[in-house]
């Protein structure tokens, strides 16, 4: 009896169970976790977590970045090993030392970062680890048939012979779901599945989830988006800093309550700012186009202007060209078209299209990803404080040597001003928490009085106190007359900060709105590419 057969039997058993139990109120939880703890080095990712998930339900898990959601699910799926705790599946204490055990127990997982082999076909990815025998041919034939059935049943169409690298992100996700279904999973975990999807694709996904729920499958859905939680889940658990703060019925809660549970206090998303007082045009972008390494066009003719003393917010689902826009402006991607700053053209290719030249033109950049772009985690705070500006004459002792002592002193005072804790310039960047790391980047970029500030996801993974602080500094800079381009996937943040909002979809600007004249619904449609 193969592993697949076993789970098949298991599936039928639980399906029957689920059907019977639907009538009786005293159900055995599909999943019960008790006292799960997990540390990565000194980071306590999960602390004594308990959770129960009922069969045939969609159970949501929310929490800020780094709250420990993915870690918890990876433990359930046998990808990580818990330091402590018990896992009970369908009322039975179950050891899950590896993913094989999880699969046997009927668990399937779609990871936040897909686990697909890029240069394999869909079919090969599906059968990997679930082959029928030592030879591939029968497995492939069987999988092809099964795939067709699943595709028809769940509207999950993908070409079985296409290579993964040729597929869109949405289709790759379908492959991941198919993988789980092919393995007869009756407990399906989805880790932030909609982060990479357009609202349309997300709707499709939810239809499928609904369908699976009706079939009696259990679904765990991790998301940041309260709207989705309210829309589809039956119950919801909230995590904060590695702990499970609450589990509630969705029908008995509200987004406000969830938000409060998530961050630990009342959320204040309104920034107090005066009306903008725009001056001369600072940034003009005309017909900007960018191709990536695979020659795919990622920006398809962008036109934008920003004036001094104005914040332009770019809304959009991640992956629609916002990153490329920041990269071209920041000088680390090549493009074609025209970009003018204060009337002067920027080079879009060649050796004057780098970060150094941009900084020389008064363009500062708080990048989207502070770990990979904005900071060198192994460098000390003072070394990070001059990152990108290290050739500035102010930091040189003489033509040969840098003025390290001077830089350390400068860093210490900047850390005070930006309330970086602890204010120790010789600590490596990786020893600071996310919010404090972001403040270091911000201090470096803002204190240079830029003509144009590029900001990407300024408060991603940052706690609420720091968010307020960061927002305040951005508005202050605007009031001093800088032009600011803000990219954020958080619509709340876009509404709170922007003086004008542009929506990006598929490498194009779908349209511009004033925040006071629009609402989330309209922007959502534009972000999906269905409205302009």
């Amino acid at each position: 009896m193969s592993a697949a057969d076993q789970t098949n039997a298991g599936r039928q058993a639980t399906a029957a169970l689920g059907a019977k139990e639907a009538a009786t109120p005293a159900k055995v939880p599909a999943i019960e976790l008790k006292g799960i703890s997990k540390a990565f080095g000194t980071v306590q990712a999960n602390k004594d977590i308990a959770i129960r998930v009922m069969p045939g339900a969609i159970h949501g898990i929310i929490g800020e970045n780094g709250a420990g959601k993915s870690t918890l699910m990876s433990i359930l799926y046998g990808f990580y090993k818990a330091d402590k705790g018990e896992i009970w599946i369908k009322g039975k204490r179950t050891q899950i030392p590896d993913s094989q055990a999880a699969i046997s127990a009927g668990i399937g997982m779609v990871f936040q970062h897909f686990k697909l082999v890029q240069n394999f076909t869909v079919l090969e990815n599906i059968i990997l680890g679930a082959e029928e025998g030592a030879l591939l041919r029968p497995s492939l034939a069987k999988a092809r048939k099964e795939l067709k059935r699943l595709a028809d049943e769940y509207e999950l169409n993908v070409d079985p012979d296409e290579k993964i690298e040729e597929l869109s992100v949405g289709h790759q996700q379908r492959v991941e779901i198919l993988k789980a279904l092919y393995r007869q999973a009756d407990i399906l975990i989805l880790d932030e599945p909609t982060g990479v999807l357009t609202p349309d694709e997300a709707d499709h996904l939810f239809r499928i989830l609904d369908f699976l729920r009706k079939e009696g499958k259990t679904i765990i859905l991790i998301t940041h988006k309260l709207r989705e939680i309210m829309e589809i889940t039956d119950t919801v658990s909230v995590m904060r800093r590695g702990e499970m703060t609450a589990t509630v019925k969705t029908s008995e809660t509200s987004p406000e309550q969830l938000a409060e549970l998530m961050v630990g206090r009342k959320v204040l998303l309104n920034v107090t700012k005066t009306k903008a007082n725009p001056g001369d045009t600072v940034l003009e972008i005309e017909d900007l186009r960018v191709r990536d390494e695979d020659k795919v066009e990622r920006l398809k003719g962008i036109n934008l202007t920003i004036r001094a003393g104005e914040i332009l917010g770019i809304a959009g689902v991640a992956g629609n060209g916002q990153s490329e826009l920041l990269e071209v402006l920041g000088g680390f991607a090549n493009g074609t078209g025209t970009i003018r700053v204060n009337g002067q053209d920027l080079d879009l290719t060649g050796k004057h299209s780098d970060g150094q030249s941009r900084r020389a033109r008064g363009i500062a950049h708080v990048p989207e990803d502070r770990h990979h772009l904005g900071l060198i985690l192994d460098f000390m705070a003072w070394e990070n404080m001059i990152f990108g500006y290290h050739s500035d004459p102010a930091y040189q002792k003489n033509p040969l040597l840098m003025d390290n002592a001077g830089i350390i002193a400068h860093t210490a005072s900047a850390m005070e001003r930006f309330d970086v804790r602890p204010p120790i310039p010789t600590l490596p960047a990786k020893s600071f928490s996310g919010g404090n790391q972001q403040k270091i980047v911000l201090a470096r970029e803002i204190e240079r009085d830029p003509v144009l500030l590029l900001v990407g996801q300024p408060t991603r993974g940052v706690d609420i106190g720091a968010i307020e602080f960061i927002h305040k500094r951005i508005v202050e800079l605007r009031d001093q007359g800088a032009a600011i381009l803000l990219v954020s996937v958080e619509l709340d943040e876009i509404f709170a900060l922007s003086d004008r909002i542009a929506v990006m979809f598929d490498g194009q600007i779908m349209g511009e709105r004033l925040p006071e004249d629009t609402n989330e619904k309209e922007l959502g449609l534009m972000m999906a590419g269905v409205a302009t």
């Binding site: 990808f79 030592a134 030879l135």
Partner: protein
């Protein structure tokens, strides 16, 4: 150049290309599984020594073969421990393996045989003798075909035929079996294998074990087939040429055959014609010797089709930072 000379050159190319082919396929299994292996040279050398030593003592080439595989395997274990279990730097481990073999073989050879790091000469059953294919004598005088059959195809040691058989076998295992699918997957994205419920560690150890067997065959052929005994540093860079061939073949088995035979032919030509006068230029022997390396650099530079290694190659599989 007459036909007989061409046959003779090709024959020599087969002999000289065989250790490269075996080592190249050895490297293929390891690197396809995501473990870079610049230690092929060392594994071959170790196998060459142990096969020759045991064959010399026991008088049996087959026992020598076992010992050769064992010798290569011991270094494979070191490399596997370093790159799989301890998640160390695979390149550094490869360098260490090469030095280890280079020193260890001489040290042990001197201690066992007191012949300045050689083994005694092998003769008789202690060597793999050439095999005459059936009917080779009969067709010997048939023009062209007969000559090819008798001179080129027949008359090699068993290990040569094994090496050639390994090419389709490797292809089949890699692309037609479950093991091959998983092996390729673990070299591209180990997480995909792990989350599919398959042990990354076991797969990778299996892959490097196959590398051990094949590089063991390579070294054994060198010492007991091509030569008749071990002398120090007798691999003379062949492990690196095999590595070059692997890149040249873009990690695929059938092109690996082509690449290694090409490099074998280059060696055969430079043995026979130290200086090649092309009229315009006179290619010195040193140039001929450098050609495999130069070709590899050209391939690496991507001027003739780009060589893209397995995506997870060289990186230890680390789940938790």
């Amino acid at each position: 150049m007459d036909f007989a000379t061409i046959i003779e050159l090709l024959d020599s190319a087969v002999r000289l290309g065989t250790p490269l082919l075996l080592a190249c396929l050895a490297g293929l299994f390891s690197e396809r599984a995501g473990i870079f292996d610049i230690g092929l040279e060392g594994k071959m050398l170790m196998a060459a020594f142990f096969s020759a030593a045991v064959a010399a003592v026991t008088g049996s080439a087959w026992l020598g073969l076992l010992a050769g595989i064992g010798g290569a395997m011991s270094l494979t274990l070191v490399h596997g421990l370093a790159s799989i279990t301890f998640r160390g730097n695979q390149l550094i481990s490869g360098v260490a393996v090469n030095f280890l073999a280079s020193g260890f073989t001489v040290l042990i050879a001197q201690s066992w045989f007191q012949q300045g790091g050689r083994t005694p000469q092998l003769s008789g059953n202690a060597r793999f003798e050439p095999i005459t294919l059936p009917g080779a004598d009969a067709v010997k005088d048939v023009p062209v075909i007969g000559q090819i059959y008798d001179n080129l195809l027949s008359g090699h040691t068993i290990l040569v035929y094994v090496a050639f058989a390994m090419v389709p076998l490797t292809w089949w295992v890699l692309f037609r079996t479950r093991f091959g699918l998983r092996l390729r997957a673990v070299g591209e994205n180990p997480e995909s294998v792990d989350t599919a419920g398959v042990s990354v560690i076991r797969l990778r150890y299996t892959a490097v074990a196959i590398t051990g067997v094949l590089s063991g065959l390579a070294g054994t052929y060198l010492a007991t087939g091509l030569a008749a005994g071990f002398v120090k540093e007798m691999t003379a860079g062949r492990g690196y040429i095999a590595l070059a061939a692997l890149i040249f073949a873009k990690w695929r088995p059938v092109p690996a055959l082509g690449a290694t035979m090409l490099f074998g032919l280059l060696e055969a030509i430079s043995n026979r014609y130290p200086n090649i006068d092309l009229g315009v230029v006179n290619l010195p022997i040193q140039f001929m010797q450098a050609v495999p390396y130069i070709l590899t650099v050209v391939i690496l530079a991507g001027f003739i089709g780009k060589a893209i290694p397995p995506r997870a190659g060289g990186q230890p599989y680390v789940k938790e930072r």
